[in-house]
């Protein structure tokens, strides 16, 4: 048996290789650079927010000292964070199956995924938000011991949340009731807090300030952190047998049999609806498309409200967000069985038509949901009707055209959050290009001095696209037939 540290390092090496050797990382350097820059930007923004947090806190809490207010806010922060973690954080897993029979201590194998959860976004964000404050505000007025106690307390809280989320997730796989209790508990706490019946945050504040005023008490949060780790470890240990790995997913059986009456397109759409309902990533992608509909409310008070350029953006966004969000991966969703699509009795035209109909249905749902916004924004009814037609007739078809260019496989079982697998430079360009076209038309109409009529141009184009959809889809089918070998070859590289 090798030492556990060197084994852990080797496991890390394997993980690194897995990442590095996945076709996605090897191919798209530009996406990686772009994503790297995006992450750097986020880190800077969050760090800056942390640095200027004291100003905000002084504004909000005028009657108590800024440090006490900070301690009180930590309570809200960490309870909301726990909830968000629960929804978004991935339980880190390595497939330990290949290692179970090798002479590696089980403890090492179990500790590995636990350790691996540390560099998660949540932990980094929490540290970035709080540490600048501690060094800027707490540091100058307190002893080094107090500052250290603050840092240790925060780190302990982060660790506690990290492992608590881990344990909850492991545990709730079997008992969905826990989610309800957790949600109920946090809601109840907030209810008590807001109504003033029991101000939990001030208990929390007192707890933290007493720890930091007597730095030796810092052992309490540290011990709690240790406890949370032991809990996670024990749960993981209990779940480390292969049978446990295969958690039976709940079978969703929505009656879609009416679709089978509509021939090839019907069967294909039925299949695709099942793809969306039964697989994590496509499902989340569609739901996110719906959640983004709330964007309109955020912009309701904006000074841009009556600006035509903004109205067009809003109408485009509100009537196509679901289909564009889902459709940027059109054929990639089916990468794991693309050969079945090719070898079975499915025509390229019928295949494309089923996807186009699905996009049209998504746009229609978006369109109906966005209608109430017409009360908030002037011109939105006209604009959204125009862009609904345009998006269905033109945007959807162009999305299918672009789709034939993508060749990276996508794992539909993985979660969506911060998951860029299959993301491609072209996709950023595609979404940009899709949005640029209505603006190009607007520009022409502006130059002619009749900008207010551009909505009718969208309508005409959209209706033409819908009327001639068969013809357009046949052209796209030719492209699909030409590109299918390259697509299929890419999709096979899992």
């Amino acid at each position: 048996m090798t030492s556990s540290i060197s084994t852990t390092l080797k496991l890390l090496g394997h993980e690194w290789k897995e990442k590095l050797r996945s076709p996605f990382w090897q191919k798209s350097i530009w996406v990686n650079i772009l994503l790297g820059l995006l992450n750097l930007y986020l880190i800077l923004v969050i760090g800056t927010m942390g640095y200027f947090a004291d100003d905000l806190i002084r504004e909000a809490y005028k009657d108590i000292s800024v440090i006490n207010a900070f301690a009180r806010i930590l309570f809200f922060y960490f309870s909301i964070e726990l909830l968000l973690r629960f929804i978004l954080q991935k339980v880190p897993v390595i497939s330990i199956l290949p290692y179970l029979t090798l002479p590696i201590k089980k403890r090492t194998l179990l500790n590995y995924p636990l350790l691996k959860s540390f560099p998660s976004y949540f932990n980094i964000i929490a540290i970035l938000l709080t540490f600048p404050f501690i060094f800027k505000v707490v540091g100058p007025v307190s002893s080094p011991a107090t500052t250290a106690a603050w840092c240790l307390t925060i780190i302990s809280l982060v660790i506690i949340n990290n492992f608590l989320c881990f344990s909850l997730k492991k545990y709730t796989v079997k008992r969905p009731l826990i989610i309800m209790i957790l949600l109920g508990g946090i809601t109840a706490l907030f209810y008590l807090e807001i109504t003033g019946k029991a101000v939990i945050s001030s208990f929390f504040e007192r707890a933290i300030t007493s720890v930091t005023s007597q730095p030796l008490l810092v052992v309490i949060p540290v011990l709690l952190a240790l406890l949370s780790y032991l809990l996670a470890y024990t749960l993981l240990r209990r779940n480390s047998y292969i049978e446990e790995e295969r958690i039976m997913s709940r079978r969703r059986s929505v009656d879609l049999s009416f679709l089978s009456r509509y021939g090839e397109a019907g069967s294909l759409i039925r299949n695709e609806l099942r793809l969306i309902l039964r697989n994590k990533r496509p499902r989340a992608t569609v739901i996110i498309g719906l959640v983004f509909m709330l964007y309109g409310f955020m912009m309701a008070g904006s000074p841009l409200k009556d600006n035509q350029v903004f109205t067009i953006f809003l109408a485009f966004f509100l009537t196509a967000i679901m289909s564009v969000n889902y459709g940027q991966f059109v054929f990639m969703w089916e990468s794991s069985y693309f050969d079945a699509i090719l070898a079975n009795k499915i025509t390229a035209f019928g295949y494309l038509r089923s996807k186009w109909i699905l996009f049209a249905v998504m746009n229609t749902i978006n369109f109906i949901l966005c209608l109430p916004y017409g009360f908030l924004f002037s011109d939105l009814w006209l604009a959204s009707t125009a862009l609904f037609l345009y998006n269905t007739g033109i945007t959807s078809v162009i999305m299918l055209l672009f789709g034939t260019l993508y060749r990276s496989p996508v794992d539909i079982g993985k979660s969506t959050f911060m998951n860029y697998e299959g993301t491609n430079v072209f996709q950023f360009l595609m979404v940009g290009a899709l949005l640029a076209m209505p603006y190009f038309i607007l520009l022409i109409f502006r130059i002619m001095g009749i900008a207010q009529y551009c909505y009718y141009a969208y309508m005409l184009l959209g209706i033409a696209g819908i009327v001639f959809s068969d013809y357009l889809l046949k052209l796209t089918a030719r492209l699909l037939i030409r590109n299918k070998y390259r697509m299929a070859a890419g999709f096979r590289k899992k």
Binding site: R251, N344, A489
Partner: protein, 230 residues
């Protein structure tokens, strides 16, 4: 029925398959043998238009397969797991495939009733295909490829991962289909099975067809001596 004309398939200058001319006549059952990397799957993928030949072309019933769809009306196939839709239950998958050929659920039930010997309750249970074992996945693919009575059948290592009972059932079934007039190409590493079911044996070695013989009494011996460790 199946014709390959001057087929070459190269990956980065390495030739994976090179066959000048090969004709499989109607009602033939061609057994495809060869070691790993000999080009068996490449050959089947080329016939199914899943990969593009570097040069040459394939015809089924005299019509080119490349870029056309007609051949899909009468060609059943199962090469690997990539042919299965992982998030469907087996029954839903059968229904999907049957639906493409204008058949309905009753036809599927009738077909399954007539072929009870080949599957167990795992296949009719409400489990998703991705949760099944390799053997069961293999059975689902094979059943789906024959449920709509194709005229041409292409199977890549159908005996792999099957239990002994299912293997003999499949052998029986393939012989029956063949005598009903189905033209097929079946690849396998099991020389016994191949010499039992095929009417003709094709032996591939590093992308070339080195033996093409009508199956006879000495076929098995010949194959065994070829595959002997040297």
């Amino acid at each position: 029925m199946i014709e390959l004309h001057n087929i070459r398939k190269c990956y980065d200058k390495k030739t994976a398959l090179a066959i000048d001319h090969l004709v499989i006549s109607p009602r033939e059952c061609a057994g495809l043998v060869g070691n790993n990397g000999a080009g068996k799957t490449t050959l089947l993928s080329l016939i199914l238009d899943l990969i593009k030949p570097t040069s040459g072309y394939v015809t089924l019933k005299g019509a080119g397969v490349s870029g056309t769809d007609d051949w899909k009306n009468y060609t059943g196939s199962f090469l690997n797991e990539g042919f299965l839709i992982p998030f469907l239950t087996p029954m839903e998958y059968f229904e999907f495939i049957a639906g493409l050929h204008g058949l309905n659920m009753e036809d599927v039930t009738a077909f399954l009733g007539a072929n009870k010997g080949f599957y167990n309750e795992d296949i009719t249970a409400k489990k998703y295909i991705r949760e099944l074992s390799s053997g069961n996945k293999n059975k689902i693919g094979i059943l789906a490829s024959i449920l709509w009575k194709p005229e041409i059948l292409l199977l890549d290592e159908p005996f792999a991962n099957l239990d002994p009972t299912s293997q003999s059932w499949l052998k029986f079934k393939l012989r029956e289909l063949n005598s009903d007039g189905v033209t097929m190409i079946i690849s396998s590493h099991d020389l016994n099975h191949i010499s039992d079911i095929s009417t003709r044996v094709l032996l591939l070695e590093e992308g070339s067809l080195i033996k093409d013989k009508v199956t006879g009494e000495d076929t098995l011996k010949e194959l065994e001596s070829y595959f002997k460790v040297r």
